[in-house]
Structure formats: C-alpha cells, structure tokens
C-alpha cells in the first residue's frame, strides 16, 4: 500500500514536471481558438507554431502570432466573452483578382459551415458588403426572434480572390431563455426613451433608431441579457446619437464594461 502511494506520487510529479516543461516550451493557444483555426484551415493542431504577440495595453484578451507553413495569423482570444478573432497577416493586403460578391458569398458560406458546428436556421446573414480596403465582409448573427440576438456572431472577411483574411467568432455557450427575460420590449423602450430624453436635454426630441435584445452581451461584466437601444437626437438630426443599455433582467441602466464613466459610450 505504502509502495503504491509512492508510485502514484512519483507519476503525478512526473506528469506535473512534463506539464511545466510543455508550458515553458511555447505559449499554448486556447482550445477555443485552436479549434476555430484548425477548422478554418483544415489542419491538425500540431501543424500550428505559436509565438506570443505583445500584450495589448487596453484589454484582457490573449494574443498570439501563429504560423502554419508560409501563412501567419494574428489570433485574439478572450476567455471571458468567448470571442476569438483570426487575422491572416501573410499573403499581401489585397488580391489582384476579384471574384465578385456573389462568388465570395458562396466561399464565405462554405467556410461558415466549416467552422460553425450545428448551423441552424437561427443563423442569419445580416451583412454582406464589399470593403473599401478590398475584399468582402460577411456577418452571421444567431437570432431566436426578430431583433433578438443570442450573442453568437461570426464575421468573415475574404480577400478579393476569395482567400480568407479574417475570421472572428463569438460562441455563446449558454444564454438565458427568451421566455425568462424579465423586461419586455415595451418596458425597455419606455425606460430607454426616458433615459435618452434626460441625456439629450430638455426640449430635444429623441427618436428610436434601433433596438436589439442580446441574450448574452459582451458589453456587460457578466455577459448577461441586455437591451441595446440607439436613439437619434434632435429634430434635424444634427446631434450625435445616444446608445442606451438596459439590463434585461433588472431593468437597470448599465454601461459598457469598458466604459470609464456612466453615460460614456
């Protein structure tokens, strides 16, 4: 019995030593980022060579430079929000060939199905545009009702020739069910209008421009449900818009997690 215990302790120590050696050998890509990159590139994890990127000064995301063959990627992974962004920094900024929006959409859709497991009909393509920098932008958002987003979003930017330039995905593991939301739309709009009017100043007209319920929003500390309301200000519209955020469970006004002061946007 005594010998068995010693044996177990020895094995545990060896395993710990091996883990420490591995950790010191090279930075490890978070599993979420590794999976997304491998799915996008159709490759195995051991094909990826990681180099640490310099730490960002302004947020808590981990950043890595990853090489695979001749390709280089800049990878950002934010564990708290579930967001991963991949930017291919090799291969030149803009391709000379241009396959057009329609063909690019086909390429992007194929890639989207490749990287997102279990795509269902809640995934909606909400934006498809040609970028001034060159290439094409596609954004899919998961929605469980009109203007109700789960918080799951995928952005794909392709080069003009259809090659991947950027893949960004926020995967929401768990959200509040829509039927459990305590603050309904009319209540949120009423609260939002009151806050926007107060911020705009006396006698200034505010008009709702956009409303969105996000069941898991990265704008809050706890990734909770949030009403995102944007108001146009002034009858001539010559004043900046106002973004109002309301906790969808408590009805309290909240501020973005990166906001320095109440009311700042």
């Amino acid at each position: 019995m005594h010998r068995a215990c010693l044996y177990i302790i020895l094995v545990a120590l060896l395993a710990l030593g091996w883990l420490l050696l591995e950790a010191g050998a090279q930075p490890s890509l978070p599993p979420m980022a590794r999976e997304l990159l491998c799915r996008a590139l159709h490759c195995q994890a051991d094909e990826l060579v990681m180099k640490p990127a310099e730490a960002a000064r302004t947020d808590k995301a981990d950043r890595f430079r990853v090489e695979r063959g001749d390709d280089t990627f800049f990878v950002t992974s934010a564990a708290t929000t579930g967001g991963v962004s991949i930017l291919r920094t090799s291969g030149g900024l803009a391709a000379t060939e241009d396959i057009g929006l329609s063909a690019a959409r086909e390429v992007a859709t194929t890639l989207f199905h490749q990287v997102v497991a279990n795509v269902d009909d809640r995934m909606r393509l909400i934006s498809q545009k040609q970028l001034p920098v060159g290439g094409y932008l596609f954004v899919w958002r998961q929605e469980c009702a009109p203007d109700v987003a789960t918080g799951d979003v995928t952005t794909i930017i392709l080069d003009g020739d259809g090659a991947l330039k950027s893949l960004s995905r926020r995967h929401v593991m768990r959200t509040v069910d829509l039927q459990d939301i305590k603050i309904d739309r009319p209540t949120a709009l009423e609260t939002g209008a009151r806050i926007a009017t107060k911020r705009a100043g006396e006698g200034v007209r505010v008009v709702l421009r956009q409303s969105l319920l996000v069941l898991s929003s990265p704008l809050t500390v706890d990734q909770g449900p949030l009403w995102q309301l944007t108001y146009q200000v002034g009858s001539e519209g010559r004043l900046p818009d106002i973004l109002v955020l309301i906790d969808a469970m408590s009805g309290a006004e909240v501020y973005p997690v990166w906001s320095a002061q109440p009311g700042a946007q």
Partner: protein
C-alpha cells in the same frame, strides 16, 4: 561603433604594396552566417610583423569612449523640425579636430545645427548640447557619431597623427501624435486611444497634445502643424468636422477652398493653413453620425482631399453615417492594432471591424466604410523606432 567587436577577419599573409579586403556584410553564426543588422560599422586594422625583432601597429587609436546622448527635447524656437540632445563623451587622448556626425534612421547624413558639430577634443569628459534637424517623415534611430584625429602623432611609428576609432550613441525619436476630441463627443475610449498614440508619454518630450473638454479648431490646426499622427474625433457631416459644440455655426474644420477663415467663429479651412502638412504621416477623421439627410454622413470628401493636397501622406475617414459608440470603439481598436501590434492601416481596419461586430452584434454599423488613401502604410516603425 558602440565599442563592441562583431567580426575579426584574420588575413594570414599580405605582400608588399596595396592590399584590400571587401566585407560582404555577413556576420558568422551559429548556426549560419547572416546579414549584419542595418547600422553603422567601423573598422580597425592591426598589423603584426613576424620578423625576429617583431612589430605591431594599428591604423586607428582608441581615443574616444563613454559616448551617450540624453535629455532629448524639441527645439522650442522652431516647430519640431529641429531638436536637441545632450551629448556626453570622454577623450582619452587630445583630438584635433574632434567632430560630430549625425546619421539619420535611413542612414543618410543628418544636419547638425549652430556649429555644434565641432567638439572639444581636449582630454577628459565633456558634455555638450547638440542641435540638429529632424526629418519628421524619417523617424526612428538618430545616430550621433564622434570622429577625430590625434592632436599629437609624435608617439607613432611615422610621427603622423592617427584617426580615432569612431564611437557613437543612438537617440530614438518618435513621431509626435495628436488626439483631438470634439466638444460633446462622448468617447470613453479617447484617453485609451491617445495613450496608445503615445500622447501621454512624457519621456520623449515630443509635442503631444490631447484636447479634451472644449477644444478649438485653431488649437487643432496648430497641433497639426506639429503632429505626424493625427486623430480627430468630432462631429461630422457632409461639409465639415465640428470641433466645438455641434449644431452651431462655430468651430468648423472644413476642406473648403477659396473661402476665408473666420477666426471670430473659430472656423478654419485646410487649404488656408499657413503651413504644409507634408510632415503628417496619417490623419484619421472619425466623425460621429449626423442625421441631416439620407445622403449625409461620413467624413466630408473635400476634408480628406484637401488634407492630402496639403501634403499629408495618408488620410482616412468613414464614408457613411456611423453610430457614435461603434465609431469610437472602432477608433480605439484601430489604433491598438496599428500602433501596438504594428498592423498596416488595412489590416488594422479589418481587425477593428471584426471587434466591433463581436461587441455590438449590429453588423458593422457603418465602420465597414472606413476608407484610407493608403492601406499599406505602417505607423508603428515611425512611432516606435526600431
């Protein structure tokens, strides 16, 4: 040049007469030889004669040591096309002449001003203020190289003075940056962004300026006279970017030509600027949205074109109306990618667009119309030196 040896080449036997050796610019490994880093190198030839009496000689003598530069400051008398440093050095032998040579980051010759290139070559430690020209489009490592010749060569084999081995030091000069936050523009990322631009870095003492609260167009104009990287977050519509309170006739910066400035209204037009913008590397006009008309929004095209016409190397803005929260978030992330991670303008644009989508879930909300004159431009080397 900094006093450490990088390469020794033994030339086993040289015959009488002129001899030469050509260095291919390679340094030995391990594992393999590689190109020597860009910089300034000097050489010293040592000769040993194998005859019974023996002899040895060198072509240069070690007479300069402990060279350093510090206390960098832009010259207040001229907008920052000139600066000064304190140069400290030691002469272990008397040198006549003793001179300072300035080499710019691109390794071309720089200009030392006010006769401060003539140095005191007496034996001992010296400290001198050196004034020199700064090319604000060639920022990075400025090399200060001291050269000289022995004042007395009587101790040498042929009695002739020998040159001293040159010694030098480097001053890294960053591009001045300016951030201008229009009055009433709600941007909680602005101070973070300005920090990324280096505007709060007092160590380099460059002409940084961050206007918060109630800035004026005149102050913005004067800041642009000094800055290489410019970030203006104001209120934009199809005609101007408003620096002071929006919705009034005051505080407008426009690209209008042939219209006089109106100082009483703090309205200024870029074509009227009493200086060129050819020192400016990059301007980002980040305008909040203005819902004047369906065709409205984005940054006025003549604002961009007049900035470029004045000589700025690159200028950017949005082509459509952008939500204020997303626009400011985009600006923050954009400068992080461009200035911290060294992305080109185009890559920083794409990375920031993706971040906006993850944060706000709205689709790009207008930031996807970010347009620059040169997407390949890289700002980091200019800001951070090498």
């Amino acid at each position: 040049m900094f006093g450490f040896e990088v390469l020794t080449v033994p030339l086993d036997y040289l015959s009488l007469g002129n001899c030469s050796y050509l260095w291919d610019g390679k340094l030995p490994g391990p594992p393999e030889s590689f190109d020597a880093p860009k910089g300034i190198y000097t050489s010293k030839v040592e000769i040993y004669c194998p005859f019974p009496m023996g002899c040895e000689d060198t072509d240069k003598v070690p007479a300069i040591s402990n060279v350093s530069v510090g206390q960098f400051a832009w010259d207040e008398d001229g907008f920052p096309d000139r600066a000064s440093v304190t140069l400290v050095y030691t002469c272990t032998q008397a040198l006549q002449p003793c001179q300072l040579q300035l080499v710019k980051p691109d390794l071309t010759d720089g200009v030392v001003l006010d006769g401060t290139d003539v140095l005191d070559g007496t034996v001992g430690q010296h400290s001198v203020s050196v004034h020199f020209e700064v090319d604000r489009q060639v920022l990075g490592n400025y090399h200060f190289v001291i050269t000289g010749t022995q004042a007395d060569g009587s101790g040498n084999r042929n009695g002739s003075p020998k040159p001293a081995i040159p010694r030098g030091a480097v001053q890294v000069i960053w591009a001045p940056a300016v951030g201008v936050l229009g009055a009433g523009v709600s941007n909680s990322h602005f101070s973070d962004t300005v920090t990324l631009m280096g505007a709060t870095d007092a160590a380099t003492q460059t002409h940084y300026a961050a206007y918060e609260g109630w800035p004026t167009v005149l102050a913005t104009r004067d800041a642009m006279r000094q800055a290489a990287v410019v970030y203006i977050d104001g209120h934009a519509n199809q005609f101007e970017i408003a620096i002071s309170e929006h919705g009034t006739e005051h505080g407008h910066l426009t690209g209008f030509a042939n219209i006089p400035d109106v100082p009483t209204y703090d309205n200024y037009h870029i074509p009227n600027f009493p200086f060129e913008l050819d020192h400016v590397l990059f301007v980002f006009y980040n305008g909040c949205n203005s819902w004047c008309a369906p065709a409205d929004g984005g940054v006025a095209q003549d604002l961009v074109s007049s900035t470029l016409a004045k000589g700025a190397k690159n200028c950017a803005g949005f082509q459509t109306t952008v939500g204020m929260a997303t626009a400011s978030f985009f600006g923050w992330k954009f400068f992080e990618y461009a200035l911290v991670h060294g992305f080109s303008i185009g890559y920083a644009d794409m990375a920031a667009i993706a971040d906006v989508n993850q944060e706000f879930m709205l689709g790009p909300d207008g930031v996807e119309t970010f347009t620059a004159d040169d997407y390949g431009q890289v700002l980091k080397p200019a800001r951070w030196g090498e």
